[in-house]
Amino acid sequence: MERSRRRFLKLAGLGTLGLGAKPVLGIVSGGAAPQPQIVQGENALKAKQWAMVIDTRRFRTEEDFQPIIDACHKIHNVPRLENKRHEIKWIWTEPFENAFPNKENRFLNTRVKDLPFLVLCNHCEDPPCCRACPTKATFKRESDGIVLMDFHRCIGCRFCMAACPFGARSFNFRNPRPFIRDYNAEFPTRMKGVVEKCNFCAERLAVGKMPACVEASDGAIAFGDLEDPESEVRKLLRENFTIRRKQQLGTEPCIYYIV
């Protein structure tokens, strides 16, 4: 009895060792098929923190901005809803006093007073919207500092809209699809009940293209890496006096305006 139990335990021990043999043998024989990999595109533009410099001296009237706004809204299937309360906007214009409250002097010069200012998501370095989001549907991408949205995860609570000091976010109160003028088949639409905003053309940067607004601006908008002292935006920031929207809130907006 004593002996047979001892033997049984020994054999059982050897048996369990055998369980670990298969993975080891698999590695030794090298029979494992190569695993699929997920990689970044070769042409992808890379930066630590993307930023934009808008030269407002290059613009005069509302019409100057229209091609830029249309380019963005067409590419991203942004619906056009006439009702202001349902409006969806990724990039639009605001008068100076709305774009830059408390930068407004009592007597503004005429050019700035009458000039529309191009506004969009500021892709803040410290974005309050991302802190407000309960599902992490909106997040600041570690790799390049873009404030992005995962529409799949958005539950439509609109906390981010309340948190954003720039009004850069729009809510789909209605199904946006019937209101899309020119459909771009390469970009998804959104659905009723999600928030949306500018994505700094993350899908274009991934294939080595500049954002649509930058391309359509004919050089009036510069785009580049804020952390790279040699980048185009840093060069412009060195050479020109620039302002940012609601800088006093400490969100560190990444859209700079040459006035």
């Binding site: 699929p36 997920i38 990689v39 970044q40 995962d150 899309i180 459909y183």
Partner: protein
């Protein structure tokens, strides 16, 4: 002292058990041999010409939803948009521009199995060729 091996109302209980058994198994034997045939998804000409999907058919059939889930996070959150499969072939990770480009026949391809297994994914509320087709 009653004999505790006796079942009171034995006849009624046994009858009841038989009725219960029949009722519970009713759906099984009633539908015996009438199982709906497994659907055969139809491939588009483009998909037929390509012969292989990004992974084996069995893998795609069973795991496409997990694959898409991984793709979504990789694309959105890490900015990685290229999928290199085991054979070393690379694909753009995009439901709309890669998957639905070949499998453009939703009704004959996607819907067949989804209806059969009674799942209702809402991929197409945002990803489809022509939004005007949607009600």
């Amino acid at each position: 002292m009653p004999n505790n091996k006796t079942i009171y109302d034995k006849g009624k209980i046994v009858f009841g058990l038989i009725v219960f058994g029949i009722l519970v198994t009713f759906p099984f034997w009633y539908n015996l041999g009438k199982a709906a045939p497994a659907p055969e998804p139809i491939l588009t000409e483009k998909a037929q010409a390509a012969k292989v999907c990004i992974r084996s058919t069995d893998y795609m059939r069973a795991e496409h939803m997990q694959l898409l889930d991984v793709w979504r996070d990789a694309v959105q959150r890490e900015g990685k948009r290229i999928y290199v499969n085991g054979e070393g072939k690379s694909y753009l990770m995009s439901l709309q521009n890669t998957c639905l480009d070949c499998h453009s026949n939703k009704a004959e391809f996607c819907d067949r199995c989804h209806n059969y297994t009674s799942v209702n994914p809402f991929c197409w509320t945002c990803h489809i060729e022509n939004p005007k087709e949607i009600k």
